[in-house]
């Protein structure tokens, strides 16, 4: 593409972010609204606040740049970068998941969901409850019943 077009994204708390169009269209939601001509300028992004939108833009920029660069070696660098990107507190992580879902950015959604899946794997139920602060509202008898229903999973 000869010219680099820029678009402005407006977060839910009123902050504007100017980005290249090629970066913004990593989000299928934004891409569709631009193509349909219903975007408006700046493009409002409800449900996503400025802190999260900034991170999402950072992710998209990095991935668009890596796709342009030479193949092969950069793959490993990108994987390492992604791993660092998701080293955030839970509130941010889950906000990123919701943002990736709303904005329809598959690779970011997969990355964040995989991160949560990795937090679930290999933990006992007690550890899982602790990690995610899930309140156990089963009575001991109910819990026993559930365990029996799904016996093999708990062996």
């Amino acid at each position: 593409m000869a010219t680099s077009r820029k678009v402005t994204l407006l977060s839910s708390d009123g902050e504007s972010f100017e980005v290249e169009q090629s970066v913004a269209v990593e989000s299928i939601t934004i891409k569709d609204s631009i193509e349909e001509g219903s975007a408006g300028n700046p493009i409002p992004v409800p449900k996503v606040n400025s802190k999260i939108l900034a991170k999402v833009i950072e992710y998209c920029k990095k991935h668009v740049e890596s796709a342009k660069a030479e193949d092969r070696v950069d793959d490993e660098d990108l994987v390492a970068w992604d791993a660092d990107f998701v080293k955030v507190d839970q509130a941010t992580l889950f906000d990123l998941i919701r943002a990736a879902n709303f904005l329809n950015i598959k690779s970011l959604l997969d990355l964040t969901c995989q991160t949560v899946a990795d937090m679930i794997k290999g933990k006992t139920p007690e550890e899982k409850r602790k990690t995610f602060t899930i309140r156990n509202d089963f009575t001991p008898e109910e819990e026993e019943e559930v365990r029996r229903e799904n016996q093999w999973a708990f062996e």
Binding site: Q90, A117, D118, F132, N150, A153
Partner: protein, 510 residues
């Protein structure tokens, strides 16, 4: 792929942790501060995960096995049956687990009977194939087919039992997009109707040409086919314009003078991998190929082994002369060096991007490079990559080796007149060191010095040591020495740069 956002119907748990021991919430916050900032261990004030819409939770489940998914049932009342709507099923029983097989079968049955959705996206199954498993497996596969499964994988392992035959209903599953079968009997009786199938992996199967023909004609949108350790196929013929990539791994040749012929006029990418013996790959019709990988090992029994190996490689390269990206493994490198020693000619190649694997530490690598450079007049990119697996060697009689031992620079000066023209387009050279063993730099340095001195249009030489997985402490000093040598060497291209990339882990000061 936008997931529908429907909020949970059930009540959202309290914002603050409710500690059953009765401690105040202040204490829990204090505890949270003392714990490390790792997101795993921090005591959060909020149960974020339970507030996620169902569709997203199910997407998270798609990254877990069914066993882990079902375990969430005990977390809280809200989570008790969330797992039943996960459209991804993945069951695996490790090989030694035959004692647990009855429980395993009951588990799979239970999961399938409690399934609430109409559709199944993925069904993965990996278990020993015991007698009591067979009829159940038939039923489970039928369940998958009835639920319009898209991605299916069946991997079995056996001790002494008869091989499992896939149910015929599987061959008419119109919703299948990706299928992976390992160690099953691929008995195609009737017609195959896989109208959505794009990806097919068949491993350890006995399949004859007729059976494969039926599979291919029943899969009109097939893009990718991998045949690993299969026996019985002699001819692969695919006319489809959509068929993009073919991978043949460890093909088993039976009988004398056995051959595997490949004709796929629209194929874009071909990979020949693994260990084979006593056979020949013949490429009949591959005119659309843009990328070819020859990373296989072939054991050939012949009186003149060098000629036999050389003939096989020459035959392949003749058919691949138009391919722009070529990847060659250690067998090819060995054969090339033997051909160099015996002055056997290679057909001229239009390759622009050449990758040599297992290259740097290998014997005979300079000879192999000289041989291949002689034929690649359009070469723009040359990558040498060490692999982590040891390279099997071609067994030869003592007399037929005849490799001369050249000291680095002498050798390159000797072959210069032959390969000089091929350096006309060379722009990018890259050495990638996987790091398992320390890289012997000597042969590489001579090559790089030679290229610096003679490649007129050279843009950059990149030396890459992505050592992130190496358990040994990384020693940058050999690299610094290499850097010193290369950077002080005269270069004929004014633009040429030498770039070093390695993970920075507290490098000592230069």
């Amino acid at each position: 792929m936008l997931l529908m956002e429907t909020e949970h119907q059930s009540t959202i748990p309290n914002a603050l942790p409710f500690n059953s021991a009765g401690n105040s919430s202040e204490d829990s916050v204090k505890r949270a501060r003392l714990l490390s900032s790792n997101q795993d261990e921090t005591q959060n004030a909020v149960d974020y995960i339970s507030q996620l819409p169902d569709a997203i939770i199910v997407h998270i489940f798609s990254f877990l096995t069914t066993k882990d998914t079902v375990k969430t049932s005990v977390l809280s009342k809200q989570w008790r049956s969330t797992w039943t709507s996960s459209q991804y099923m993945s069951f695996s029983l490790p090989p030694g687990g035959s004692r647990k097989s009855k429980g395993f079968i009951a588990f799979v049955n239970s999961v399938q009977s409690r399934y609430t959705s109409d559709k199944l996206k993925r069904f993965l199954f990996d278990a020993p194939c015991l007698a009591l498993m067979r009829s159940s497996l038939d039923r489970w596969l039928q369940f998958a087919v009835e639920h319009d499964v898209e991605e299916l994988s069946v991997t079995l392992n056996y001790r002494r039992h008869k091989i499992y035959a896939l149910p015929q209903i599987l061959f008419c599953c119109k919703t299948l997009v990706s299928l992976h079968i390992s160690r099953c009997c691929f008995g195609v009786c009737g017609t195959v109707n896989w109208c959505s199938l794009k990806i097919l992996h068949i491993e350890h199967a006995k399949l004859n040409d007729d059976g494969l023909m039926r599979v291919l004609s029943g899969s009109p949108v097939l893009e990718f086919l991998e045949l690993k350790s299969c026996v019985g196929i002699k001819h692969i013929m695919v006319e489809s314009k959509i068929f993009r990539e073919l991978v043949i791994d460890s093909h088993e040749f039976r009988g004398q003078a056995s051959m595997l012929k490949i004709s796929a006029p629209h194929l874009l990418k071909l990979r020949l991998l693994g260990n084979s013996r006593g056979g020949e790959f013949r490429l009949d019709e591959v005119s659309s190929l843009i990328e070819a990988e020859l990373n296989f090992n072939m054991k050939i029994c012949a009186l003149d082994k060098v000629k036999a190996h050389a003939d096989l490689l020459k035959g392949l390269l003749k058919r691949l002369h138009h391919v722009t990206k070529l990847v060659m493994g250690s067998w090819c490198i060995q054969v090339l060096s033997l051909m160099e020693a015996r002055d056997i000619f290679l057909p001229s190649l239009e390759c622009r991007h050449l990758i040599l694997l297992g290259a740097a530490g290998h014997e005979g690598v300079p000879e192999a490079i000289a041989k291949i450079l002689e034929s690649t007049r359009l070469l723009e990119k040359l990558y040498l990559q060490t692999t982590c697996t040891p390279n099997p060697k071609i067994e030869l009689n003592a007399e037929s080796t005849g490799c001369h031992i050249f000291a680095g620079e002498e050798f390159w000066n000797f072959v210069k007149w032959r390969i000089y023209q091929c350096l006309m387009h060379l722009k990018h050279v890259e050495i990638v060191d996987c790091g398992a063993n320390p890289l012997p730099w000597e042969p590489v340095i001579s090559l790089l010095k030679f290229l610096l001195q003679n490649a007129l249009w050279l843009d950059k030489i990149v030396i890459n040591s992505p050592n992130s997985k190496s358990s040994q402490a990384f020693e940058p000093s050999p690299l610094l020495e290499v850097a010193r040598i290369l950077l002080s060497h005269p270069k004929c291209s004014p633009r040429a740069k030498v770039i070093f990339r390695y993970p920075f882990q507290g490098c000592p000061p230069v």
